[in-house]
Symmetry: C3
Subunit: 223 residues, 3 copies
C-alpha cells in the first residue's frame, strides 16, 4: 500500500474502503435474493462481490496476505449482516430500496477500488499500463466473477454506461498526477472525482463507449 504522509488521509481512506466493501457485499446479497439462493449463496456472493476484484489483483501481482485475510473482521461483519438481510423482510426491503438508488454508492466503490488497485501496483514499481489495468481489475473483477458464478455473461462486457472506461480513465489520472509530482492522496482524490463524474454523467446522458461497427449489423437484423 502506498504510504500516507498524513494520518488523516489514511483514516479517510480506510473509512472509504470499508464503505466500498460493505456496499459491494450488500449488492451481492441482493443479487442472491433475485436468484432465490439460500443464506450460503448470499454469503458467498457477498464475499465474492466485495473481495474477488482485490483477490484477483493480488494473485496477479503476487501480493500476500490478501486484503480479506488481513482484515478478516470484515468476513465476520458480512456474515453478521447476512442474517438480518436474509431473514428480516424489513431490512431486505430497505437494502433493496437503497440499492436501487445506489448508482452513486456503486460509482464511489468503483472509484475507490480503482484507486487502491492502481496505487498498490504503482507502489510496487509495476509498468504504468499494468498499474492502470490493475486498477480496472480491482474495480471490476468482483462483478465479473460474481456474474460468472451465477451463470450470466458479465454485465461489464455488454454495452451500457461507461464503467471500465471510467475506471481506466481515473487510473490514468492518478498515474499522471503522481508522474507530475502530486502526492498519492491528492492524485487519488482527483481520480475518484473523475471516475464518479464519468460514471454518473454517462448514465444520465446515455453515453456509452462508441458503438462497435457490428452493432449496425445487429440492428439491421443480419445473422
Amino acid at each position: 500500500m502506498p504510504e500516507f504522509p498524513h494520518l488523516s488521509g489514511a483514516l479517510v481512506f480506510t473509512l472509504f474502503e470499508t464503505t466500498a466493501v460493505i456496499a459491494a457485499a450488500v449488492a451481492g446479497m441482493i443479487l442472491a435474493a433475485n436468484k432465490s439462493m439460500d443464506i450460503i449463496g448470499a454469503y458467498a456472493l457477498a464475499c465474492i462481490n466485495a473481495f474477488a476484484g482485490g483477490t484477483v489483483r493480488d494473485l496477479l501481482l503476487d501480493n500476500r496476505p490478501f486484503y480479506w485475510m488481513e482484515h478478516y473482521l470484515l468476513l465476520v461483519v458480512i456474515l453478521a449482516l447476512c442474517i438480518p438481510f436474509v431473514y428480516s423482510a424489513r431490512i431486505f426491503h430497505l437494502a433493496s430500496e437503497m440499492h436501487r438508488r445506489s448508482v452513486v454508492i456503486d460509482a464511489i466503490g468503483l472509484a475507490l477500488f480503482t484507486m487502491t488497485g492502481t496505487g498498490i501496483a504503482l507502489h510496487q514499481g509495476r509498468p504504468l499500463i499494468v498499474a492502470a489495468l490493475m486498477g480496472v481489475v480491482t474495480g471490476t473483477m468482483g462483478g465479473v466473477v460474481r456474474d460468472v458464478v451465477v451463470n450470466e455473461v458479465p454485465d461489464l462486457f455488454r454495452p451500457g454506461g461507461l464503467y471500465a472506461t471510467a475506471s481506466f480513465t481515473g487510473a490514468i489520472v492518478l498515474i499522471a498526477g503522481i508522474q507530475y509530482g502530486m502526492q498519492y492522496p491528492e492524485a487519488s482524490a482527483l481520480g475518484i472525482v473523475v471516475v464518479v463524474a464519468l460514471r454518473l454523467l454517462s448514465l444520465r446522458l446515455g453515453v456509452t463507449v462508441p458503438a462497435p461497427q457490428w452493432a449496425a449489423r445487429d440492428r439491421a437484423g443480419e445473422p
Copy 2:
C-alpha cells in the same frame, strides 16, 4: 499439514484422503457422462472435482506445492480410471449405480476435505474464522468450480440439505476441540462425525437452512 503424533493416525488419514479424492473424481466423470462430454472432458471434470477445492484453498493460503503436484501419482491413477469408465459399459453402470447411492461417500468426502482444509490453516496460525472458511472452501469449492465450468448455477448456492452449513459446523467443532486441548486426530474425528451426521440427517429429515424471507415472496408468485 498438522503433525500426527501416532503413525497409525497418519495412515488412516492418508487412506481416508485418498478415498475422498477418488470418490470425487468418479463423481466428476459421472457428471461428464451426463453432459455427453468426451474423455478429455471426463478427465478434466474428474480432476476439477477432486482437486479444485484444495487448489483454491492453497492459492488463498499461498501454500506450495499443491496437493496434486505432491501426490502426482493420483493424476495418473485418475487418468487410468477414466479409460475403463468411459469405454466399458459395465464399469460405467457400476459406477453410476454406486454413485447414486453414494450420499454417504460424498458426505465423508465433504467431512474429510473440511478437516484437512481447517487443519492446514490452523497449523499455519491463521485467524480462526479464516481457518473455518478454508475448511468450507476445501470441502465445497471443487463442486462450485465444476458447476461453473459446465455452465450451471452452483448447486451449493441453492436451497437443499445442509452442506456448507454442515462443513462449517464441523470446522467449528474441530477448532473448538483443539482450543480445549484435544489432539488433532481426536478433534478431527469428532468433526467428521458431526459433518456426516448433519449432512445425512438433514437429507433424511428434509432439514434445510431456514428459508430466507424472499422464499415466501417466490411462493406467493410475486415478481
Copy 3:
C-alpha cells in the same frame, strides 16, 4: 524458460510465441463480436484468450512474473489492435475472414503454447506427468476460461477433432525427445509437427477420441 544454446533458436521461438499470442487475441475479439460485446468485452476476451492459459499454468507452477507482465508491451499492442477491429468494418471483416480459414494458425498456436508450457515445467524439474499436463493447460485453458466467461460449456470438453489429445501427444514427444538426449529446440520442433499434424489430420479425416460408450446411449435416444 529453457535456455537456448543458439541465439537463432531463441529468436525463432519468440517470433512464433508472439504470433500465437496475437492470433489468440484476434480470435478472442471475433468471439466478442459474435456475442455483441462492446470494446471493453473485446479487449477482455482478447487478453483472456491470449494469456489465460499461460497465467493458469504460472499460477499452478507458482512462476512469477507472469508472461504478460514481463511482456506488457503486448497488452498495449492488443489494446491498439482492438480499436480498428471494433470500429472499422473493413478490418473486422478481413479478420473474421482470415479467422474462418485459420485452423492452421490455431493449430500452430496450440502447438507453440504446448511446447512452452511443457518446456517451462521440465526446466523446473517437475514430474513428467505434471510437465505434460502443464503443456496441455497452457495450450487449452485460454479457450476454457474464455468459454466459461461468455457462459458456454467449454468447446474443449465436447466431442470434436483431436485437440487436448494432440497437445498431450506433442508434450509426450517433447519429453521423450529430451529424455533421449535431444536439445530443446529440436525436440520441440518435432513436438510442434506432431501437434499440428494430429490436429489438422483429425479435422480432415473426421477422427475424434474414441466415442465413449454413453454416446451409444445418446444416439439410441435413451434418457
